[in-house]
């Protein structure tokens, strides 16, 4: 029955090319679910330019029948079919970009009925990118061609690609009951190996990249901590909340741009950087002067007091902005990604953050090693009393160093707001990891912090696919404890006589 109906509709369509588009809408609206599916399949096999508008409407879930717009109830199967039909129609578009997208969509979802149409399009296609994408889509379909030679060619073509989908298709062919021809099966095996190799490269690079990305985030989170902990000996449990404040500053800047300068909203993160830096640095300096200053030399008490500060900051943000996450949108230049391999996309925001993290490290290094402030900070770190005798205003230096550490956390917060949720608990998730970075890297060593951050980031991402994120984290904690057995001072330690 379905075939009969199908043929009937097909015949109608072929016979009535004129005025058919209005009828298409009526037909579709009148049909039940399975008939709608058949309609869509036939449209996909025989696209005509005039029907694009109708299918576009369908994709939005709307149909206009006799000038009246109705809302459709679609199930997932129909939605998929609509996408396929739309892609099929878009192959007829003038814009090669649209055609390319369409061809890529068809690689995943083309139906055998579309074979003939795709063949025609391939012959007529002029753009080379679209051609290769299209030939792949075709190859996917040809895998079920009755002619073994055609199948063989298709299998070879699939081997050339590094598409994740090609792998599943080829894996299917390995079973004798699906693919009867032995030579095609052998070819499928070689092609599969080829595809797997390409995919593996992409996977490994992908893991390395996400490791680097996580490392850069850890670095931004831990760098400020390395300064306050390493140079001042202060355990700042509220450091995570400085990240959170930085992210909320970004949110506020974004709101201001939306209100007062919607045209320049693309560039709000650039303004958010100094704003976040100064806001968090100011908060940090106020805290240092009012609370932390009284606790120098009592690290455990500092830890508890700063934990108290963090509780207050979290609750304050909850009261001011609500307990829900706030929406921080990526500007256009940070969304999307670099398409390196079929299964490897490097998101722009993560790329930018890696570069940004390194830039912050370089700036911090310059600040600590090439400026008067840095000299003062290092002097106070090494011998507070002597520095005071030499006229270094130790109180001011403490305040500025703490402000610097907090400010860097604020910068980290801007970066975090571009890749994750911004909520009052944002900082809590980072504080333990940041401390582990500082502990592992060795106290008071910027280089150690950099190595430890990237090391931990990459180790995390390598372990994650093998044993899962949670077990990976636990394993890494165990490894750090074992590592500290060997090198109690961390990766990079200042050696010297222990002073009692």
């Amino acid at each position: 029955m379905p075939t009969a109906l199908y043929r009937l509709i097909l015949a109608c369509l072929l016979l009535l090319p004129l005025g058919a588009y209005a009828n298409d809408a009526n037909d579709f609206a009148a049909a039940n679910n399975s008939e709608q599916a058949q309609l869509l399949e036939s449209w996909a096999a025989h696209p005509t330019p005039g029907r694009v508008e109708l299918i576009n409407g369908l994709q939005q879930g709307q149909i206009s029948v006799d000038g009246e717009v109705k809302t459709l109830r679609l199930n997932n199967r129909l939605r998929g079919l609509i996408d396929t039909a739309l892609a099929s129609h878009q192959l007829l578009a003038v814009d090669p970009k649209l055609r390319l997208n369409a061809a890529q969509q068809l690689q995943k979802s083309a139906k055998p009925a579309q074979l003939k149409f795709l063949d025609q399009q391939l012959a007529a296609e002029t753009d080379s990118d679209v051609r290769s994408a299209l030939s792949l889509a075709l190859a996917n379909l040809q895998l079920v061609d009755p002619d073994p030679a055609v199948r063989l060619a298709a299998v070879r073509l699939l081997g050339e690609t590094g598409e994740p989908l090609a792998r599943t298709r080829l894996e299917n062919l390995l079973q004798p009951d699906i693919e009867t021809d032995a030579s095609v099966r052998t070819a499928a095996e070689t092609s599969l190996a080829q595809v797997k190799r390409k995919l593996l490269i992409g996977d490994l690079l992908g893991q390395a990249f996400s490791g680097l990305s996580l490392g850069s985030i850890l670095l931004l989170a831990a760098l400020g901590l390395a300064i306050t902990f390493g140079l001042l000996g202060v355990i700042n449990m509220a450091h995570g909340e400085m990240l959170m404040l930085g992210a909320y500053s970004t949110y506020c800047v974004q709101l201001l741009f939306q209100r007062f300068a919607p045209g320049a909203i693309e560039f709000y993160p650039l303004l958010a950087l100094p704003v976040a830096f100064f806001v968090t640095a100011a908060v940090g300096m106020v805290l240092e002067r009012t609370i932390i200053r009284h606790l120098y030399g009592r690290p455990l008490e500092t830890l508890l007091a700063t934990w108290g500060i963090s509780l207050i900051l979290i609750q304050l943000v909850r009261v001011l902005f609500g307990a829900q996450n706030v929406e921080v949108a990526n500007p256009a230049w940070l969304s999307g990604g670099l398409h390196v391999l079929p299964n490897l996309v490097l998101p722009y925001n993560r790329l930018v953050i890696i570069v940004f993290a390194l830039a912050v490290v370089v700036l911090t290094w310059l600040l600590l090693n090439k400026t008067r402030l840095g000299l003062n900070v290092r002097a106070v770190t090494q011998n507070r009393n002597m520095a005071a005798c030499c006229g270094v205003p130790t109180g001011r230096v403490d305040m500025l160093a703490f402000g610097l550490g907090s400010g860097i956390a604020g910068l980290g917060g801007v970066a975090l707001s571009q890749i994750g949720n911004v909520g009052p608990d944002l900082g809590q998730g980072y504080i333990i990891d940041s401390f582990l970075v500082v502990v592992l890297g060795g106290v008071g060593q910027l280089a150690g912090t950099v190595y430890a951050a990237f090391g931990l980031g990459i180790a995390n991402k390598i372990l994650e696919p093998q044993i899962g994120a949670v077990l990976g984290k636990i394993l890494i904690l165990g490894l750090i404890i074992l590592f500290i057995q060997k090198r109690p001072q961390g990766l990079f330690a200042l050696k010297g006589r222990v002073i009692d």
Binding site: I235, I291, L300, L304, G308, L436, K473, I474, L477, I481
Partner: protein, 359 residues
């Protein structure tokens, strides 16, 4: 900072008064379970809510005491005691779950369509084995962690951070459904313990009584420790570990002993907490809970035995009042408490009382 901390509050802060107050408190605590058995219309009747609340706070007080042993005496601030507490609680919870489900698998396992018990659940239907687990699980974990941590001389804030990371890792692990402890719902819907209904007034009264006894025993243990040479070695270790080593003491053994003891006490407290409160979930392992225990000890006065109990009572009493009256402001209050205690009350309330006494 280097000023001497007193050995016990009872020794110096007006021994008579302290003894009287302590005796009175103990008397009230012992009377409470009995009063709870009175009929509901009696004006002396203690409601189930009050009994549970006080029982809960008593469990916390044991945790505070255990934390004080390692922090106040040995100078090791643990931010991971919630883990030991929860492990003890989970061990007890396993038994209670088995009791509730009878011969079947516990409900959450059938929900995950598991067909058999994981190996670590074997034997948990026996009360005695569950009790062994209550001691063994936190004890062994503390032993292994402590062995490595003390061997590499991790101390001070490094130790604190490591313990915090440990409890955080534990929380992540227990949040997973595959771990086999009910995921983020944990264990709840208990029915009976040793054949007695868990919500029956009699059971509640006995559990409460057991908690008071555990507290008294812990207190006695702490008192004996603090007065022994062992206690003096711990104090010495806190103030000058190097000197102690050159005196010929191996600090690792001393630290490990008190660390494991403290963990086991926490586990026992957790085991009594679970049947009284009726639920255990991974939230108990969150770093926040453990660090809150530190403020109980700090507020009461570390290095004393009464201080932590006082601190746990005051803070938790405030908490249950605040979270009903002004839930928005509880965190502000708690945060301020952390700051005020560290800035102005380095020796806690007990220190304050003692100072007044001396003047």
């Amino acid at each position: 900072m280097n000023q001497p901390l007193m050995l016990t509050a009872t020794q110096k802060a007006g021994p008579k008064v302290t003894a009287w107050v302590g005796g009175l408190v103990l008397l009230v605590l012992l009377a409470m379970p009995l009063l709870s058995l009175l009929p509901a219309d009696n004006s002396f009747q203690v409601s189930a809510y009050t009994l549970t609340l006080v029982g809960k706070i008593l469990c916390y007080a044991i945790v505070a005491l255990a934390l004080d042993l390692v922090w106040g005496y040995a100078g090791l601030l643990s931010l991971g005691h919630g883990l030991f507490f929860a492990l003890g609680g989970y061990a007890m919870g396993m038994y209670l779950m088995r009791q509730a489900s009878g011969d079947e698998l516990p409900a959450f396992m059938t929900f995950l369509s598991w067909t058999e018990l994981p190996w670590y659940w074997v034997g948990t239907e026996h009360f005695w084995w569950a009790m062994c687990l209550v001691v063994l699980a936190p004890g062994l974990l503390a032993l292994v962690f402590g062995f490595f941590a003390f061997r590499s001389r991790i101390k001070g804030v490094y130790f604190s951070i490591m313990t915090q990371a440990l409890t955080f890792a534990g929380m992540l692990l227990f949040f997973r459904n595959e771990t086999g402890f009910g995921g983020n719902n944990g264990f709840t819907n208990f029915r009976s313990i040793l054949g007695f209904g868990i919500t029956e007034p009699g059971t509640r009264a006995v559990l409460f009584f057991a908690t008071v006894m555990l507290l008294v025993i812990s207190l006695f243990l702490g008192w004996r420790l603090a007065r022994s040479k062992f206690g003096r070695v711990l104090t010495a270790l806190r103030d000058a570990e190097n000197r102690l080593m050159f005196c010929g003491y191996d600090p690792r053994g001393f630290k490990l002993f008190v660390w494991v003891l403290s963990a086991v006490l926490c586990g026992l407290a957790g085991a009594l907490y679970v049947p009284q409160v009726g639920i255990i979930n991974p939230g108990e392992m969150s770093p926040t809970n453990s660090i809150e225990a530190a403020v109980w000890v700090a507020l009461g006065g570390r290095g004393t035995l009464i201080g932590p109990l006082l601190g746990a009572g005051v803070v938790n009493g405030m908490k249950s009042w605040f979270t009903v009256a002004f839930p928005e402001y509880w965190l502000f209050f708690l945060g301020a408490l952390f700051i005020i205690v560290t800035l102005y009350l380095p020796k806690g309330v007990i220190g304050l009382l003692k100072k007044k006494d001396e003047q």
